[in-house]
Amino acid sequence: MAVNELSSVRPLQPKSISFKPNWLRHWSPFQAILVGSAVLVTALILLVPAYLLLRTVTGWENAAQTLLRLQTWQVLGNTVILAVSVTLATAVLAVPLAWLTTCTTLPGRRLWSILVALPLVIPSYVAAYLFASLLTPKGLLQQWLYPATGLERLPAFYGFPGAFLVLTIISYPFTYLTVRAAFKRMDPALTEAARSLGVSPRRAFFRVTLPYLRPSILAGSLLVSLYVLRDFGAVTMLQYSTFTRIIYNRYTGYRLDAAAALALVLVALTAVILIFEHKSRGRARYGRTSIGAARRQQPVQLGKWTIPALAFVGSVVFVALIVPAGGLIYWFWRGWQQDFGVKMLDGASSNTAALTSLLEPAWHSFSASFLGAVLAMTLALPIAILVVRRPGRLSQFFEKVTYASFALPGIVVALAFVFFGINYATSFYQTLPMLLLAYVILFIPQAVGAERASLMQVSPHLEEAGRSLGQRPSSVFRRITLPLVRPGIIAGGALVFLTAMKELPATLILSPLGANFLSAQIWTNINEAFFARAAAPTLLLILLSSIPLAWMTLREKNNGKR
């Protein structure tokens, strides 16, 4: 190889010596911006419980009355019973589903694994109305069964049975996805070691596989229980009195002190779950202990169990996906025949006019969710950078506060904003910025989580190399870090967007005056049992909210080989 003498010897840049006060020595201007932004976001989050607390304390008499009423304790009981039963049911469904679609010779398991996870995109209130229209005592199922069986009415659906069924069906994918990930990570050597120690396959499953899965089952279950506690749409639609429903009732009845007190109890309840989740996470990571790449697992031969397994997976997909989708199409078709009840949709006189009138709420939903996702991802980034790159007490505090905002259900955040808006910021109340800030609080844990994960993939050496090549921290961020984490940020943003599109209580309460949103429109229609009218906006909502995810999945496939 030819080696030339290097020609130029040239100073890199003028050298300057700066003297900063001691406490600023570690902080470049870039970092000061990060910390400043993180402080603002955490303050915004902390404002919610602080305001509820203030409200409860100042309206102490009303609050105390509310808290001491028997009804409050019944609501607490309802909430806990629903959370526990749904969580158990989802675990029972999810573990065999995850095993069948990951570790066995189930025919078409790749397709099944996608179908089984799909119910996640159905908003809870949509699932609620679709199942309610089908399964209420005089619902569609009864009407279809009546000619053949003479069945007068089905058992009661509203209340606990409906809430239980609907929430189980749309939240089991949480556990399914975490358990499936654990199955995929699992080193086959674990069970092989057990087998070589003379344990039968069945006993190996119970003695090795199941204990190995416990953390992921727990993690998924905690997500499910948080989902149930935060859910507003399904329980309200199905008239099962949990906290979210009662808080909303108090709010619409202008009993704000009572609403605030109940909201505090709900926050406390979610906080308990969250603390439990946090503790379990510490121990939950059973990494592979061996070095070297894990071998691919040998799929378990299902043999004569293939048919029962297919029947099981198929019936879950049927109930959780085909039935809601079918119901949606059915109601859409009914609506189409009746011109979507033209009177309801701003005097639209035909199907095309009715559908055109959906463009406005669709645009509002889309733009607010898009801006909300962008804002959440942007405001989450400084926190994620501090957590990953500058670990310390301050960063830990930021991380904990953002994580804790998981304990703030949409209805609670909305309520706090209403109080705040009415009392201190009337001009701000019911404007788009206020809704967007509520979205930020609701979705920031998700956003920080996604960004933290992709930042951890970027070796700090890359940034240090950039610094040593004469670039300031902000320039290193722009030229190295940002391009590398962009795919992760976009993916996280797409999920936030999807969640924001589905979000109901905050949108319902805080949506800007005069602006109609798809979720709110669906909600109004289903509350008056105009299922046919709800179908078109529902289809549009699901379609719009899935666009970014679908686009990403396609891109991922194309870039897969990189």
Partner: protein
């Protein structure tokens, strides 16, 4: 004026001192190898120079400019200290040319990048992406990138440990050649003694946050001043001995050396495999207890009557079975290093 000066550097993490009073200078164009076991503070020292960590106390001057003292901490981007990492840290989203040109003003990029790629032997690879490069090529890119802005000092953190053995030898020679050709002042961190002895104009052996010995590779190898240095720089056995009027009495017989010590002083003698001569002998003073074949030679472990084990090396044609009774003695080609406690007394 030295190109790099470090004086009494200290650094603790969570009250755990990692660097405790490290001082050295590197003259322009010289290569200093920082050698030591993992956890000895060598990488932290490197990061203090680069400016990624802030020293608790001590002075760092690069090219005569103070970049760190008790009050000053010049950020890394203003230090003119280039770095090559163990994992190369090639920016994965940028082409070879963009990587090498990263630290250059836009105007100068094309010509300087071409010059640097020519220099490291990667001419014509401008448009390649990092994942299309072999390990050795990535290393060259990292080197070209760090050298492109003409740093005052180049820092290399275990740069060869990710390469396989054959490539490692090749890259060692090549990198040394390139550094010399570009008159680059460099600090080089490694835990591999052979690498340090080959690469360094000076070798600093670090242990527990301190430099135990600093000198030329030859001096450091031949005249270790502490037991740690002797131990770390080559498979050293420590043989007990007692000073007598005639020399030093050892389990291998009398060593005709006369350290300036009163008779009866207990000493330790550093013995490397090439210092011990071994002959098969039924009535010998030792017995072969282990054999290691390293290709060009056998290294035999010999147990002596008092339990001391010394190693001795023979040509690869001399194959003595384990259990063979042998006679071992010290060779007389050069004086051996004698320690009292941990400190050498005759270097």
């Amino acid at each position: 004026m030295p190109a790099l000066l470090c004086q009494n550097l200290t650094k603790s993490f969570a009250n755990q001192p990692v660097v405790r009073g490290v001082s050295f200078t590197v003259q322009p164009g010289d290569i200093l190898a920082l050698l030591g076991p993992s956890g000895c503070g060598k990488t932290t020292t490197l990061r203090l120079i680069a400016g990624f960590e802030q020293a608790d106390s001590g002075l760092i001057e690069i090219d005569g400019d103070v970049v760190a003292d008790g009050r000053t901490h010049i950020p890394p981007e203003k230090r003119r200290a280039g770095i090559v990492f163990q994992d190369y840290a090639i920016f994965p989203h940028l082409s070879v040319a963009d990587n090498v040109g990263f630290g250059l003003p836009r105007r100068e990029r094309p010509s300087r990048v071409a010059e640097m790629l020519e220099f490291v032997g990667l001419a014509g690879m401008e448009e390649r992406m990092p994942h299309e490069l072999s390990g050795g090529q990535q290393q060259r890119v990292a080197l070209a990138r760090a050298l492109a802005p003409d740093p005052a000092v180049l820092l290399l953190d275990e740069p060869f440990s990710n390469l396989d053995a054959a490539l490692r030898l090749e890259m060692r020679q090549e990198v040394r050649h390139l550094l010399k050709a570009s008159h680059t002042t460099a600090v080089f961190v490694t835990h591999d003694q052979e690498e340090a002895l080959f690469m360094g104009d000076q070798v600093a052996v670090m242990n527990d946050g301190r430099i135990e010995q600093l000198g030329t590779p030859e001096a450091t190898f031949h005249r270790p001043r502490t037991r740690f240095v002797a131990d770390f720089l080559g498979n050293t056995d420590f043989v007990p001995g007692t000073v007598t009027a005639d020399g030093i009495e050892t389990p291998l017989g009398l060593l005709p050396q006369h350290p300036n010590l009163p008779p009866g002083t207990a000493v330790t003698i550093a013995s490397r495999p090439d210092d011990v001569i071994l002959t098969p002998d039924e009535k010998g003073n030792g017995r072969i207890v282990s054999r290691r074949f390293i290709g060009i030679a056998f290294i035999s472990g010999v147990a002596l009557a008092d339990g001391t084990i010394v190693h001795s090396w023979q040509s690869h044609m001399t194959n003595l079975a384990q259990g063979t009774a042998v006679h071992v003695r010290f060779g007389d080609e050069h004086d051996l290093v004698v320690f009292v406690g941990d400190t050498a007394v005759n270097v």
